[in-house]
Every structure is written in structure tokens, then in C-alpha cells.
């Protein structure tokens, strides 16, 4: 350690740069955690209510009333949340904060108008209105159980402390996601320097940054996706090894017990195992013991899939027949394809508040870069262009593409299902749904560009230029969009 610090070039060391990426990300996120008012995140009050619900005694010894069904819930009182959440939200003036045109009437000083009332803890953290508004299926509550553990440990503290500490827990999970992403890049064949830059790019991706400040099961699911991706890369690199398999298996289990989207990891896992095993059988490079192990693993995964989900319920309700299915898909495609533009803007960080934001025209630059990258990937995979040595081998590119396609199919299938029953895009496909594959997306982006560019020195400039672009976009959104929207 002493030698590391007295070495005047320590600032160039990959370890130090990685530390700086994680450190600066964590602090930026903590700042954003403070900037976003309480319950302002996506479904955040519902996720927090789930945490509180999990901490309630099993025997409900208080009066419970059946709340009337209200379709359009306009204010917090119409939700079936705990008494504490409803009263805190109202006291903290969250509906004033939700007005994107105006600000709340801030009093002087650093205490909110009703902050002492909130801190006096007059309200109970229990649900009295049933059925309670909570998220997820019964077993998909791993994130919420972890949040409930934190909540229980500090249950004697004000809701402001409990709530914001759980938000910081989400930030810690996001930091782990970034850390794992670095190893995905490094082990798939990128150099340490390029891996660090791509990791930094992820840390500045604005949609990811804002999403990770919320109380939401997404951060834990992202960790499961990153863990699975890393396990898959290590498997492709080193072959069948209990460490790689354990990592992928643990990631799948964490994902399944967190959010439904993780279901797509199972067919990818089975496919990866099956395909690589088949190849080795053909080359006569695998022993019988390993084949049996792979078969047992695949059976376990498929049974996990079937036990976790009613798989048939994911299929769209098209009324039967190929003709009706094609018609239903065609209707769905007509409705959803025009949304790709706004989906992509949302994915890269555009926030839909009422300002004309010319700086977001930079997203057009990203799209142009993506188009070139796609061309490069196609040339590499189908026209067998020579691989520059700073780009991953084809097997990793195929694995990354498989993950992208799997998540796209999974989410769009579910979206199509809801569309087929309601006739509307009730779920939609907001950009954040595709963020679990952010490291894979970035890896493919730069692989494609590297294949076109071919020369490492040019690639170095391009990747650093992209980092600068993403950095500037993120700082612009934080300081010229988010902070002014709530406070200036």
C-alpha cells in the first residue's frame, strides 16, 4: 500500500481508476438521492409500502377496512398505503413537487414546513386499507425483504432516515453492478484501459443513474443480470467450472426472486450450456461426468422456470390460429414501433418534463454511432471481417447478442400479451426496462465500432470522445434539468 501511494504514477493504475469510477458514481448518486423528493421515483411509494408490509406482524390485530376500488388514483389518499406513507407524503408536499411547472413554497432554512411533524412519528407504519398496494408476486420479494431488514433495524428512527437509507442501499447495489460490469468487459477480451472507460460510460448513463436512486427492485435485478453476464463470459473463457456455474446459478436465483424479467436468463443459461456442451461432444473434448452435470443443471433450470412462472400465461391471447396470431402481432407492432424513438430517448436519459432541451439533440449523435456499430457487428459475424485484437472474439459477441435479444423478446412478448387482452399499450416498453443489459449493449457498441475502425489509436480517441459526450450529457441533465426542476 505504501509503495502504491509513493509511486507517482499510482493515478494511472487500473485499480485506482476503477476506485475513482465507483467512488465518484456513489457520491453523485447520493447527491441525486437527496435531490429527488420522497416518493418521487417510479412506483416508489408502492415499493416502500411493500417493505413496510413485510415488517408487519403476521397477525393483524388492528382494524382493517376494505377500501373502495378507485380506478384513477389522483392523490396519495386514494392509494392503499400505510398510514405513515400517506401522511408523510402529504406532509412533505409531494404533490407540490410533482407539479413540473412550479415549485413548492419553500420556507427559509433547511427544515421543511412540516418536517417536525413527520419526525414526531405520530403515524403507524401499518396498512389499514385492504387490499394493500404492494408490488410483485409472493416470492418475488428478495429486494423488499432486504429493504425490510434495514427498515426493521432502524425502526425507531424517523421515516426520513429509514426511507433515504434504503435509497442508498439501492445505490450500493448499483455500484456493485458497475463493479461487475468492469469484469465483464475485461474478461471478454477488452483491454484494462478500454474496460475502465466503458465502465465509466455506464456510470454516467443518466437513465441508469436516476433509476438507481429509487426504492425499487430494479437495482437488485441489475446485479443479477451483471452477475449472470460475468458468469457466462467466464464460462466461455475458462470452460465448465463450478465457480462460473455457481455465479450464473446464483444470479438466476437472485433474479427470479426479485423480478419477472429475470426469467429470460433461464433459456439463455440452458442455451449456453447446451450449445457449448454439444460443440465439445462433437470435438470429443468433454467427459461423461460433465455431460451428466450439464443435463442435471438444465433440468433444474427448466423446472425452476416452470415452478416460478405459469409460462403459458406469458403467451399473447390471440384467439387461436396462425392468422389471428399474425394479425394480433401486426396490430401490436403498428402500435409499438412508432414508440421506438421516444423509448430510445428515454433509455439515454431524456426526462419528460416541460422544457425544450436542445442539448438532448446529442442523442442523435449516439444513434449515428449505434448505426455504425450495428454495421460493424453484422460485418464481423456474417462477413467474417478480421477481428482487431482489442475487440472480443465472436463467441462473446454472440453471447452478448443473445442476451440483448432474449430480454427484448421477453419484454415485448409480455407487452404484446397485455396489448392482446386490452387493445392498448398499458405496459409499454419504457427505456429503463432494457437497462439490465447496459454493459452488454456498451460492449456490443464498441465492438462494432472497433471492427470498422480497426486501428487501436483511432479507437482510443473514439471511446474517450464517447465518454466525454456521456459525461457532459449527465452533468447537463443533473445541473440544468433535475436541480432547477425542483429547486430553482
Amino acid at each position: 500500500m505504501k509503495n502504491f501511494l509513493i509511486n507517482k504514477d499510482f493515478w494511472k493504475a487500473p485499480g485506482f481508476i476503477l476506485f475513482l469510477i465507483l467512488f465518484s458514481f456513489f457520491l453523485r448518486e447520493v447527491f441525486l438521492v437527496a435531490v429527488f423528493p420522497i416518493f418521487s421515483g417510479q412506483d416508489e411509494a408502492r415499493h416502500y409500502n411493500t417493505i413496510q408490509y413485510l415488517n408487519e406482524p403476521k397477525e393483524k390485530v388492528w382494524e382493517i377496512r376494505e377500501a373502495e376500488q378507485i380506478n384513477e388514483k389522483k392523490n396519495l389518499d386514494t392509494y392503499n398505503f400505510s398510514e405513515e406513507i400517506i401522511n408523510t407524503g402529504n406532509a412533505a408536499e409531494i404533490f407540490g413537487f410533482k407539479d413540473s411547472l412550479n415549485k413548492i413554497n419553500f420556507p427559509a432554512g433547511s427544515m421543511g414546513r412540516n418536517e417536525n411533524l413527520i419526525n414526531s412519528r405520530q403515524w403507524e407504519a401499518i396498512n389499514k386499507k385492504y387490499p394493500p398496494d404492494i408490488t410483485g408476486r409472493g416470492y418475488q420479494d428478495l429486494y423488499h425483504r432486504l429493504g425490510a431488514f434495514i427498515e426493521k433495524k432502524i425502526s425507531n428512527q424517523s421515516i426520513l432516515i429509514r426511507f433515504y437509507l434504503i435509497r442508498i442501499f439501492s445505490v450500493i447495489l448499483a455500484t456493485i453492478f458497475i463493479f461487475l460490469s468492469y469484469f465483464v468487459f475485461k474478461n471478454s477480451g477488452f483491454s484494462k484501459q478500454h474496460s475502465l472507460i466503458m465502465t465509466a460510460i455506464i456510470s454516467f448513463q443518466m437513465k441508469f443513474s436516476t433509476y438507481m436512486t429509487n426504492i425499487n427492485y430494479a437495482p437488485l435485478m441489475f446485479v443479477s443480470f451483471a452477475g449472470f453476464t460475468l458468469g457466462g463470459v467466464l464460462y466461455l473463457k475458462n470452460g465448465l467450472h463450478w465457480k462460473n456455474i455457481s455465479l450464473m446459478l446464483a444470479s438466476v436465483v437472485i433474479g427470479i426472486f426479485t423480478k419477472g424479467s429475470a426469467i429470460v436468463l433461464i433459456p439463455v443459461f440452458v442455451g449456453l450450456l447446451g450449445f457449448t456442451t454439444w460443440k465439445k461432444i462433437k470435438e470429443d473434448k468433454i467427459n461423461k461426468k460433465n455431460i451428466i452435470l450439464v443435463i442435471i443443471l438444465c433440468i433444474f433450470l427448466v423446472s425452476l422456470l416452470c415452478r416460478s412462472y405459469d409460462v403459458l400465461s406469458f403467451l399473447p391471447k390471440t384467439g387461436g390460429g396462425i392468422g389471428k396470431t399474425i394479425e394480433s402481432f401486426s396490430d401490436y407492432a403498428s402500435a409499438s414501433l412508432p414508440k421506438i424513438y421516444s423509448l430510445s430517448k428515454n433509455y439515454w436519459g431524456k426526462i419528460g418534463w416541460v422544457r425544450i432541451d436542445y442539448a438532448l439533440s446529442f442523442i442523435w449523435i449516439i444513434w449515428i454511432i449505434e448505426a455504425f456499430a450495428l454495421y460493424g457487428i453484422v460485418r464481423f459475424l456474417f462477413f467474417k471481417d478480421k477481428r482487431p485484437d482489442f475487440i472480443p472474439e465472436r463467441k462473446y459477441i454472440w453471447f452478448f447478442l443473445t442476451l440483448i435479444i432474449a430480454l427484448q423478446i421477453g419484454i415485448r412478448f409480455f407487452d404484446w400479451r397485455i396489448f392482446s387482452t386490452s387493445g392498448k399499450l398499458n405496459l409499454g416498453t419504457p427505456g429503463r426496462y432494457f437497462l439490465p443489459n447496459l454493459p452488454v449493449h456498451i460492449a456490443l457498441l464498441f465492438s462494432g465500432l472497433g471492427i470498422i475502425i480497426k486501428k487501436k489509436s483511432y479507437f482510443d480517441y473514439l471511446i474517450v470522445f464517447f465518454l466525454i459526450l456521456i459525461f457532459l450529457l449527465s452533468f447537463h441533465i443533473i445541473f440544468n434539468v433535475i436541480v432547477p426542476r425542483y429547486y430553482l
Binding site: 412550479n102 419553500f106 482510443d460 430553482l488
Partner: protein, 237 residues
Amino acid sequence: MFFKYAISRKTLLGIFTIGLVLIFGSLIKNFSFPDQNWNLEKGKKIGISSEKNEEVIQKFIASKDNLSRIDIFLGNSKIERGGTLQLELFNKSCEKLLRKDKIRTTRIKSENFFTFTFPKIQKTANEILCIKLSFYDWNSDKNRSAQVFVRDNILPENVFFSINQEIIKGKSLSMRPAYQENSWRENIWKLSERISQYKPWFLKNMIILSVLVIAIISSILLVVIIIFTIINKSTLS
């Protein structure tokens, strides 16, 4: 030769620095605290242009010193190629010009407010100020109008409002003045106080300010280090 020079460490640092200057410059320009007695609300829309007979005059009482910004709420306007919105700020009698700001825009979509900024006017507390708002179509032959919202406003701060020289009582522009503090230190402290409200103790005041400062420094340092470690001093080989 130009291409080799154009893509170098210096160029990347230059782009990075210019980007940071623009971002923080924009933040500094808009760094003021709105008077929430003047909410931006929808109301009836009226068209404003550079024609004398479409002049809008609004007089209001500023609540604080250091007026530096006025937000104006506009509605969807068909301005095709675009135009320039101009706000002029006068003294009480609408004769002495104090400040002026222009915004060039290619579109005015629904529910957008435009922010007019100017060097702060120090002594404005309880002073009556006069706003004249106009719109100049870039296609001077067409002379299209920008649609601005007019709202109900019975506040005593709403002194006078007229459209085309017709005085309208009880109404005002849908506008919002904003003020700075006396110094930049006070500005930053006031922002930290606002962010601190309804937050736990570990996200208040000096703690959150320190987090912010260290976050900015470490993020900038990260990019600079990456530029220096990845990009060789010599230009492309």
C-alpha cells in the same frame, strides 16, 4: 495534417472544458429562486408579436432585491421557421429601460415556459417594474404570433396588465419572477437549504454540499485522468 491535429489529447480536453463551461454557465445564468406567489398557470391564450397593436404590458411589484430572471408561460404556437421572443424590463413608468433579454426559438410547444435572464437588478424589493413582451417572426412577411397564457391574478403585486392598450383588471401574464441572494455563497447555501428540506440529517446542509463538491471534482478528475492515460501525447500514428 489538420485531421491528425484535430483528434488529439488537447482537442478532447478542449471539448471537455468547453462542455463544462457551457453547462455550468447555463446553471449560473439560471441560478435564481422563483417567487412562488406567481405560479405558472394556464389561462386564456393571447397572441403577441412585434406589431404595436399586439403589445403586452405587465406591471408588478417585485417582492425582493436582486431580480435576475422572469419565466413566461407560453402555449402551442404555430411559428413555422421560428422567431425571437423579447422581454424588456422598464421602470415604473415603462420609460427607462433597465434590462432586456431575447430568446431565439424554432418552436413553441404547448406548456413550455421560457426563461429570460439578465444581470441582477439590486434594489428591486417593493419596486413597481414594467414588462413589455413581444415576438418577432423570422419571416417578417408573415408576422406570426406567439401564444402566451393570461391567467386570473388578484394579488396586490399584480399592478397593471394591458393588451393592445386595453387594461384588463384581475388578470396577468402567466409569469414568474425569480431573485438571487446577495452573493454567490448565499445562493449556494440557499440551494443547499432547499435540497435539505424533508431529508434526514445525513443529507442536509454541509454534508450534502460536501458530497456534491467531492462528486464533481472526482468525476472531472476521472475523465481527465482517462484522457491522459489513454491518449498518447503525440498525435495519431
